[in-house]
């Protein structure tokens, strides 16, 4: 009912004007308008809330010193090269005035702040770009400060973390600006060759010459949500190609999908994630590692023998085992990662084209020892399986695996692979991007990897797609896993032109764990309970835990040369 027009309003004044001395008004700085959602927000809430809009959760750009406060232990920041003298290599007119004006307004010396911090007690060298200073474009001083910081980190054996944000090269410094890309990259190469860790954190916006140099060179590349990251800016691209760019183009999420970012990290958890990464890269005490592994290996050795005898079932035929290996409720790669390791931190992308979800990889702790874990991952539901492409990796997946293996090699971490694939993905795009090349490259590189590599076939070991993750020091199989040159169906249809004879093929192919052990293709068979699902994994995982500990105890003894020589011999005999 509309009462509004029926009520007689008693108030006489309709154009009230306040006559008070202090007219209501919002003092400057109290409220701000979110430049993303347009909502009015209280400035103090933003300040106390990691500079994130409380309404739309959009990220505001952060001043360099605020950023350092957010990640550094209180009072731990020690600034380096704070005062740098102005340079004007091209004698560009008006440049000095502009810089002086910015210095005054921002209280910054230049567009980057560098120094040393502690992050949850872990020392690191940091560089933080500040977009308020000429859009953090890279001139000589920016390049020089970053280079000096990286050089000093190399000298002092410290990891480097750089928060990037930049419009690109500094036009006023011309070709000298361009050279900073080479200079900073060269410094990072030396730092990397010295075995040190570099983490880049991409923030909004990271473009141009900074993207094409130190931003993209991190051993680990993190990004803030929805940050613009690209080489050419979106406006330039649109003008050049005369097309409208799709929504989300060049945002962090886009880069993650395309394999260039390891992980998108929310600001609230950034400090803890960085601290964990730093901790995982501390050089381990060899004697202590040995002791831990010995204990873990011993603990399981006693229980193990009985369970093995009890559980080995010889009565199943090969075809039955093939079917068990493909069962829907069988534990998948990610189940093993959860059960055997702690603090798994997943990293994404091949740095070329895509993040292939058929392969999951990252760093985790095994009894407190950092290891690189890579698994071919089937899904548990149809939706998950579609996302993971039924664990049939694309070339991008193998390239991601290789990237993580090379990273493990750099930091001396053992690699543990879980193999479970019907085969490498068979499709148009896979061929376009070089499926054969990707698999070959993995065989080639893995044979010479200077850290221990263990592969466990947990389900289906389908041909080259499996081998690309199984050029290892030892290959083990679950009792009902299979490993073969081709699926029994494929074998039957090629040899006998009848895929229905798959069960017959399975028998003659010698693809069971027992057969392969006898053939000397694999080293160990892990017994399974009768009905093996993710509900009753403890037995198998307890067993695996002891065996992996023993493997690592054994293989960490070898030098890099011994390791690769042994691995060479292992395959040379076959």
């Amino acid at each position: 009912m509309n009462l509004k027009d029926m009520f007689k309003k008693t108030s006489g004044r309709s154009h009230y004007i306040s006559l008070r001395n202090s007219r209501p008004e919002v003092p400057t700085g109290l409220l701000r308008k979110c430049n993303k959602c347009g909502a009015a927000i209280i400035a103090e809430d933003v300040k106390n809330g990691y500079y994130i809009c409380p309404k739309c959760h959009g990220y505001f750009r952060v001043h360099a010193y605020r950023r350092i406060e957010m990640i550094a232990d209180e009072g731990s920041f020690e600034e380096w090269d704070k005062e740098m003298d102005f340079v004007n290599p091209l004698d560009f007119k008006g440049y000095e005035d502009k810089i002086n004006h910015l210095k005054e307004r921002t209280k910054l010396n230049e567009a980057v702040v560098t120094g040393k911090v502690m992050i949850n007690g872990n020392p690191a060298v940091v560089g933080v770009c500040d977009g308020r200073f000429m859009m953090a474009s890279m001139g000589w001083i920016v390049g020089e400060k970053i280079t000096r910081a990286v050089e000093r980190a190399t000298e002092e054996k410290l990891p480097v973390i750089i928060f990037t944000c930049s419009g690109g090269a500094r036009m006023q410094e011309g070709i000298v600006s361009l050279m900073q890309m080479a200079k900073t990259s060269a410094a990072l190469k030396k730092h990397s060759d010295a075995g040190q860790l570099y983490v880049s954190v991409l923030t909004d916006p990271t473009t141009g010459g900074v993207t094409a140099s130190f931003a993209m060179l991190g051993d680990i590349i993190l990004a803030e949500p929805k940050a613009l990251i690209g080489f050419a800016g979106p406006r330039v691209i649109e003008q050049t190609i005369g097309q409208k760019l799709p929504k989300g183009f060049q945002r962090s999420e886009f880069l993650l999908d395309h394999g260039f970012v390891d992980r998108i990290v929310e600001r609230e958890e950034l400090k803890d994630v960085l601290a964990q990464i730093l901790e995982m890269h501390h050089s381990a005490d060899a004697a202590k590692v040995k002791e831990v592994l010995k204990d873990a290996a011993k603990q399981n050795a006693d229980e193990e023998k009985e369970t093995v005898k009890e559980q080995i079932k010889s009565s199943l035929d090969a075809w039955e085992r093939v079917q068990i290996s493909r069962k829907k409720d069988r534990p998948v790669g990610t189940d093993y990662i959860d059960a055997l390791f702690t603090d798994f931190m997943e990293f994404h992308g091949d740095r070329y084209f895509k993040d292939d979800h058929a392969i999951v990889g990252g760093i985790a702790y095994f009894h407190g020892i950092p290891v690189t874990v890579i698994a071919q991952a089937k899904g548990k539901t149809t939706k998950e399986n579609l996302d993971r492409n039924f664990s049939m990796p694309s070339p991008d997946g193998y390239r991601k695996a290789l990237r993580l293996m090379k990273q493990a090699e750099k930091f001396g971490r053992p690699v543990i692979c879980f193999v479970d694939t019907p085969g490498a993905f068979c499709g148009l795009e896979a061929e376009e991007r070089g499926q054969g090349e990707a698999i070959a490259r993995n065989l080639f590189e893995l044979s010479g990897l200077k850290v221990p590599v263990l592969s466990v076939v947990i389900g289906e070991g389908g041909s080259g797609g499996a081998l690309a993750m199984a050029v290892a020091d030892e290959v083990w199989m679950l009792e009902n896993a299979v490993y073969s040159v081709l699926s029994p169906e494929g074998f039957a249809s090629i040899l006998w032109k009848d895929s229905k004879r798959a069960s017959e093929a399975a028998e003659v192919m010698k693809l069971t764990a027992g057969d392969l052990k006898r053939l000397g293709i694999i080293e160990q068979v892990i017994p399974e309970p009768e009905e093996f699902t993710d509900e009753n994994m403890e037995g198998v995982c307890g067993d695996l835990d002891g065996r992996i500990a023993a493997f690592l105890e054994n293989y960490t003894e070898y030098s890099a040369d011994e390791l690769t020589a042994r691995r060479y011999d292992r395959f040379r005999k076959m």
């Binding site: 509004k4 006489g12 009230y16 006559l19 209501p24 919002v26 109290l30 009015a40």
Partner: protein, 445 residues
């Protein structure tokens, strides 16, 4: 001079404030959520501004939008009503920063009184009685017994990390103490992994007695007598009356003085309420101070003849109180029943929906504060209170009879209400005789 007020609330209190403003010749601005387009307050005010979607977090609790609405409409002041932002010190502070008069106490005062331990200390220092308790943690029964004796029996032993009644035991006498303490401590250790205990005086079968305060910005503080709000369910008051049958004139004076002392100690301004627990032996203890207008303010208005909302606006405008303590006289007896859209048979489940038909009582000594009308749809997003029925008569018995008669006339069709439940309480012998405490509803079962 306040010439235009924005009412940052909804429902009957918004209507109540609009009415007061109009009588004072002050223009009104209502704010409303998308669910309240047809609400009475939206239609009754001189202007109305939509401040967001239905959920209160996005509308009636959205500080920025309310501040913006105030500036756009050119209002000088905000009346926060009760609930929502009324006791939010952050909001009061924002108003202060924006030179908007917040009709209520200063933000600093809201904050200090909102902090339980700070408020307790303020009261102890001002000599206002609080529930006696141990200051330091206690770990063994022997030490506890000494402190219990100082505090006075009965006592309650509480786990420092306690909650949900676990690790809590009452000891009526010193003989029981050791056993109670040890049982509670054991329970605490089991439930919370911690055996730190506190001891407090156990307040038995108390009444909820609150005193209405008015304080101006010139240091004048008066009290307007008490309200007995013992009839409550899950800490939600259902019936309030003034004066309380439990207070003698001497006790009223004593408690009133304590209330004034409490308000002065907190540097309080505007209308506020001091809540006490009153024991059968007439000991009373400060619980907390409500820094806003209360739902049950009409009972005080009726027995004192003072319009509390108008006084609030006058005080906020910097004017001295219109009354001195000696001008305040309690006349007759007033009772208020809250009429809620809820179903008592289904565990008081809220019952939103459209009111198809409606008849509300009237006559001498009957007042209805409500925001409902025939055809109004009660939205599901907010508090379920539909109306307040208040009666005033010469004495308590007459007031009870008047309330029964008025409740009998209330007709609200289309949704469930608690009218029949209220009617039953009004007929309960213990209520009639005034033999009530805060467990009354619980004991009804």
């Amino acid at each position: 001079m306040i010439g235009k007020v924005l009412i940052a609330n909804r429902g009957e209190i918004a209507v109540r404030i609009i009415r007061a403003c109009r009588e004072m010749g002050i223009e009104t601005v209502a704010v409303y959520s998308e669910a309240d387009r047809d609400a009475l307050h939206t239609q009754l005010a001189d202007e109305a501004v939509c401040i967001g979607p239905a959920p209160s977090s996005e509308s009636y609790l959205n500080m920025q939008n309310i501040i913006s609405a105030t500036l756009i409409s050119g209002a000088d002041a905000i009346h926060p009503g009760f609930g929502f932002l009324s006791e939010n010190s952050r909001f009061a502070e924002l108003c202060e920063q924006c030179s908007i008069t917040f009709i209520g106490p200063k933000s600093q005062v809201i904050q200090s009184l909102g902090n339980k331990s700070e408020a307790r200390n303020t009261m102890i220092n001002a000599g206002v009685p609080v529930i006696p308790g141990s200051k330091d943690p206690i770990y063994d029964a022997e030490e506890g017994a000494k402190i219990a004796a100082e505090i006075g029996y009965p006592v309650i032993v509480k786990a420092a990390l306690g909650g949900g009644g676990k690790g809590m035991r009452v000891a009526q006498t010193p003989e029981e103490f050791e056993n109670s303490f040890n049982t509670a401590q054991k329970e605490a250790q089991m439930a919370f992994g911690d055996n730190t205990m506190y001891i407090e005086h156990f307040v038995q079968h108390p009444r909820h007695i609150e005193f209405q305060i008015l304080a101006d910005e010139h240091g004048n503080v008066i009290h307007l007598g008490e309200r007995d709000c013992s009839i409550q369910r899950n800490h939600q008051k259902m019936i309030e009356e003034s004066p309380s049958i439990a207070l003698t004139p001497e006790l009223r004076e004593k408690m009133g003085e304590a209330a004034v002392k409490a308000a002065k100690a907190a540097h309080y301004t505007n209308a506020g309420t001091i809540e006490f627990l009153l024991e059968k032996n007439n000991n009373f203890y400060f619980m907390e101070m409500n820094t806003r207008i209360q739902v049950e303010h009409p009972v005080t208005e009726w027995v004192t003849g003072i319009d509390l909302v108008k006084e609030q606006i006058r005080i906020a405008d910097g004017k001295p109180l219109s009354y001195k303590q000696e001008d305040v006289h309690i006349t007759g007896h007033a009772i208020e029943c809250r009429i809620n859209a809820e179903n008592p048979a289904k565990n008081f489940r809220p019952s939103p929906g459209t009111i198809t038909d409606m008849y509300l009582p009237g006559g001498k000594g009957v007042r209805i504060d409500s925001a409902i009308y025939s055809g109004y749809t009660v939205p599901p997003y907010y508090d379920s209170m539909l109306a307040k029925l208040i009666v005033h008569a010469k004495n308590r018995n007459e007031a009870i009879r008047k309330m029964r008669s008025a409740l009998g006339e209330v007709i609200i069709e289309g949704i469930d209400t608690n009218v029949d439940y209220q009617y039953e309480i009004l007929n309960h012998p213990d209520f009639i005789s005034g033999n009530i405490d805060i467990e009354f509803i619980e004991n009804l079962g």
